[in-house]
Amino acid sequence: MSSKKMFIVSHAPFWHNRSNIPERCYGMIWAAMPAVALGIVQYGLPAAGVVFLAVGTAILAEWLMNRLTKRTATITDGNAALLGLLFAMLIPATTPWWVVMVGTLLTVVIGLHVFGGMGANPFHPVAVSMMMLTVSWPAFMDFNAALVNYELSFNAVFPLSLSKNLGTAAVAGFTPLDLLLGQQTGGIGSTFGLGLIGGGLYLMAKRYIRWEISLSFLAGIYMTALVFHMAAPDQYAGPLFHLLTGYTLVGAFFLLPDNASSPVNPIPMLIYGAGAGFLAMLIRNIGSYHDGVLLAVLLMNLVNPLLDKIRPKALGKVA
């Protein structure tokens, strides 16, 4: 028995299930790829430019913040790249380069690092920056104005503004199949229903997102839209239309289940998801925005800490 042998000493447990943060972030990025790819096919080089600019800016911003806060560099873990990508997925392909950069900086710096970095953000960083841009430069965030110069093979008016302004008949041309296949205008990575659903299924199967949140959100959208539609079928489009347009799917799988800003207990997750769906539909149908998903995300982020107080009683708790 050699006395020179050195053993590694650490605290139990000595096994780990090998999950890690980079794996999750890159998993999210992979899951977003089909939707992003279709956006690039549809809108060409400008879309690719926006995506690369956003991802690059996000990584750069993360690196600067790491330097500034003197923390270990985290740019390779994929979280910054993911945030940049998610931001790009929500905006029109024609967004000017400086708006892309400002938006990405807002996402990473204000949305994430001001609150203490990954895990500490009370709101989804991309929802924060998108709301700031919508308030500051509404023109760039308007899909109809932004995409006016595109020759597209489908109706190039943003479906949610059509339904909002003109009612159900105006969107009759959008069949669910069209919407699933991305035959609609919108953010670069927000329109390809099938791609987003596939990505979402992958994320839920891998448990990178909490399925309770995504599914209860979709149920919330469906039920609320159904009630509106039944009350006034001509004025309010049906539930399927709302499930497949705007930010519904990207919100369900990529924004709402953000770890830090959503609850972890079963009942709170269901309330959170369904509540967001309900609010999003209220805003779409009677609020002043065309789409209500981002605002609904932020509002539910706000009540998340309260919701997570509804928790099961720990073993042996005397109360």
């Binding site: 028995m1 000493v9 139990a12 780990h16 203490g116 073993l315």
Partner: protein, 427 residues
């Protein structure tokens, strides 16, 4: 590595494996050369003890060398004392170590005046194989009404208690008889893996309880909850509720003592090698861990991890000279390549720990307080004391936070603070 299973809640859980249907006779580790006995009192100067280097001792001989203390050891070998020295243990618990050079002839010293009483048990068996928790018995302020003989091992891959309950049933039957006579407990129950539930009719136990195969449900508090329907309040122990858990091995040791007139000195140890293969061996108490591994053909190399206990709750050792003690149920070797390291990420609130925790603690919230050193708040607000020390939260943590280490440290610090407070109250 074991298979990872999905529980109903979606959390990853492990199952306790059963030993092969008829457990092979355990390999006996002999010709150990040197054994080290530990006495529960630290020596300060040599004149304190009436034992000296060069004295000879016999197997089973009782050594109580301090004039002012009842601390003792039972020699596990026959031979000559080669060194006497202070031996620092974990968490401020210190010992006196006696190195004994093992002689060729093994001579067994019989013991005297053995009665089925608590006093006799305490005189000989405090550090018997399996470490019977005799201190729990006979306390009028905290009466024990049920003794639970545990044939289940709390950590994964460890098969020591299971092996004992399968192979030493006669000794256990005798042990139960002695305990009933000595302890004044109303009932004795046997807890066994669910799949081994038959064949305990003649043991004299009043109850037989099945333990589910999911980790960590063999943990005493969880056994009480599941099999006895008793929820132990967060700051209380099983003993506070009137239950004392004795490992099957310790009850067998008691039985053997009364059957043979000799205190048993062989400890059952489960060895877990780098590939997760399990082998049950027996070795004299006081055998250096390195010797056992060598004899069993398990290689270790630089930067491996050497663990006393199992993969979820064991203690890592820094050298192979540590010896087998009364409660050393397992020795595990982990290859350097499998040693997982912690990261310096903060909690990302993924909730995996919350899903994994068997006691429904909001670990994601608790860890925030513990990381900040706010132990009292963590205990008050987020149920630190409900934790049953299973380590699952660390096992699943995506941010690789050493959560269970924080929890152990917090409990240790709080216990220290309250001990200091109590001491100053008494003055």
């Amino acid at each position: 590595m074991m298979k990872l299973l999905q529980s109903q809640s979606g959390a990853s859980v492990f199952q306790y494996p059963l030993l092969p249907q008829s457990p092979l006779p355990a390999q006996a580790i002999d010709s150990i050369g040197k054994a080290t006995l530990l006495i529960d009192q630290m020596i300060e100067k040599k004149s304190e003890v009436d034992l000296s280097e060069g004295d000879t001792v016999q197997t089973g001989q009782r050594l109580a060398p301090f004039q002012d203390s009842a601390a003792y050891a039972i020699s596990s070998v026959t031979g000559k004392i080669s060194a006497i020295y202070p031996y620092p243990g974990d968490f401020g618990k210190n010992f006196t170590a006696l190195d004994i050079e093992v002689a060729a002839d093994d001579m067994a010293a019989p013991i005297e005046n053995l009665e089925p009483t608590l006093e006799s048990l305490r005189t000989y068996l405090v550090n018997a194989p399996g470490k019977p928790p005799l201190a729990l018995l006979g306390d009028p302020n905290r009466p024990i009404h049920t003794i639970v003989v545990s044939g289940v091992d709390t950590d994964l891959l460890v098969g020591t208690h299971q092996y004992a309950i399968r192979t030493e049933i006669d000794a256990i039957t005798k042990g139960i008889e002695v305990l009933k006579a000595a302890a004044g407990a109303e009932k004795v129950a046997i807890a066994v893996p669910r799949d081994l539930i038959s064949g305990f009719g003649h043991t004299g136990a009043d109850e037989l309880k099945a333990v589910p195969p999911d980790y960590p449900w063999a943990q005493p508090k969880l056994v009480l909850y599941h099999a006895f329907g008793v929820e132990v309040p967060a700051k209380k122990t099983c003993e506070d509720m009137g239950y004392a858990f004795f490992s099957a091995e310790s009850v067998a040791a008691i039985g053997k003592t009364y059957l043979s007139g000799h205190v048993p000195v062989d400890k059952i140890v489960t060895l877990i090698d780098k590939s997760g293969q399990v082998k049950v061996v027996t070795a004299r108490l006081g055998t250096p861990v390195g010797k056992i591994l060598q004899a069993a053909g398990i290689q270790t190399s630089d930067r491996d991890r050497l663990i006393l206990g199992g993969p979820m709750t064991g203690t890592a050792l820094y050298d192979e000279k540590q010896v087998v003690r009364a409660d050393t149920d397992a020795v595990m070797v982990q290859d350097a390549a499998d040693v997982s390291l912690v990261s310096d990420y903060s909690c990302i609130n993924c909730g995996e720990c919350v899903r994994a925790c068997p006691t429904r603690i909001q670990v994601n919230m608790l860890v925030r307080f513990l990381e900040a050193g706010q132990y009292e708040d963590g205990a008050e607000l987020y149920d630190l004391y409900s934790c049953v020390d299973c380590g699952l939260c660390s096992y699943v943590c995506v941010a690789r936070i050493p959560i269970y280490q924080y929890i152990s440290l917090a409990k240790y610090e709080l216990a220290r603070v309250s001990a200091v407070a109590e001491a100053s109250d008494e003055q």
